[in-house]
Amino acid sequence: MAGHERSERRIVIMKNTIKVERAIKNITQADLADLIGVSRQTINTIESNKYVPSTVLALKISRIFGKPVNEIFELDADD
């Protein structure tokens, strides 16, 4: 119970490596946005961790980079 409460109190930030993956594949934010059918702003906010993508969106991104979602998105607790 205590553990449960603690986990609720923490702010969980989703970190991601999209920027790095983009650099590896040599594509821009706009390219990626086009590829998965969202706006460039969406990609921008995801990259800066200000937007938490839905499961489907995260899976689409992961498929573009050919990596599991876990490898791209990482949960991080910010106490």
Partner: protein
Amino acid sequence: MKRIVTTLSLLLILQLVQAQDAQTIAQKLVDKVRSCKTISHSSSQKWGNIGDANDFTPFSGSCLFKMVPLDSNIRAYYSLKANDINDIYNGKTITRVNAADSTINVTDLQKYPGERSNITSKMLYTQSILDIYNMLSPIKGKRDYKMRMIADTTINNMPCNRLRLTYTDTLINKQRTQYYKEISINVQTHLPAHVKSFSQSEYGIQIIESNLSGFKINDTAINQILTTDVNEVPGYRKIEYSPTLKRENAIDLKKGQKAPEWKLPVVQGDSLSLSQLKGKVVVLEFSGVYCGYCLVAVKEMNKLQDSVDSSKVRLVSVYSDEVKDKLKKYVERYGMKFTVVYNEKDQKNKKILRDYGVSGIPHFFVIDQEGNIAWHSVGFQTNIGEVLIREIKKLLK
């Protein structure tokens, strides 16, 4: 007692030897790649067991890459070149696409009408050797992993060493395995032959397997295209397909468009529908309890609630997949002064999310007195409070 100590130390030594072996094997691969001027290879990838997203079925693709590691101190630079002709396997049929410098809509796959997924000749659905190189090289990313050697194996009748890289996540004291990767490295060539990634998370289980083959090292014919044999894929059928350039946005809601109607239970009361709010400016925010910036947005929404005339403006926050009691505690804890509506947990019909094209949180909408969409914005921004006030004022004029 002595025997136990001996056994234990033997085990320890064995483990150390094993660890060293894994390092040596990894180092050999890194050295090999580093010494190459160019490497090209073809690879095919297979996805399986991917979460609950129904539009993702196992598939494989093939392509050719080139890599030119330039400086051992920096991330390897590489250039990619896809086959001009790509065969894309969607689980049932293979689509042949011409990938030469164009964007290709793979959605031809009429079986998945909901999906819009394109590839360009630059985009490759493969596990690149570069990834493996970066992973094994000492210049690795900030993520830590444990590497060990597991049972040897054979890939295409070639003996291989198998390394397992285990990554732990940062939430529970780096204790929980986030995912692991198994890389099979050819004993003779020191090049990877097979990679398997396995991960389990809130997104479900994902398994990605890649076969790497057809390596050409220091080849001069840069543009030479390797052909990949796809005949072995069951149900193989070639389809002639000409690509078309397509740019679409998932969110099709536009300014002035009628805001989709919704009716949802309210945490602080019974229920609320959009039509009930006619005549008022509505700020609709899509949010979640697990999202850090949404919590920052709560503070902004509270500030906003204090500064607007509540007879003219209504602030509503939508939480999905929630249990009322739990959400109520959350609402009380953070002193939310605005209306909080929610979608019941496990309720399959998340109509409001679909209707508004919400693909993540937070997402803000401003709806005018007539029930039309006046403005919307994806994600958190530091000046969201000011922006919302500006948009509200425009409508109250």
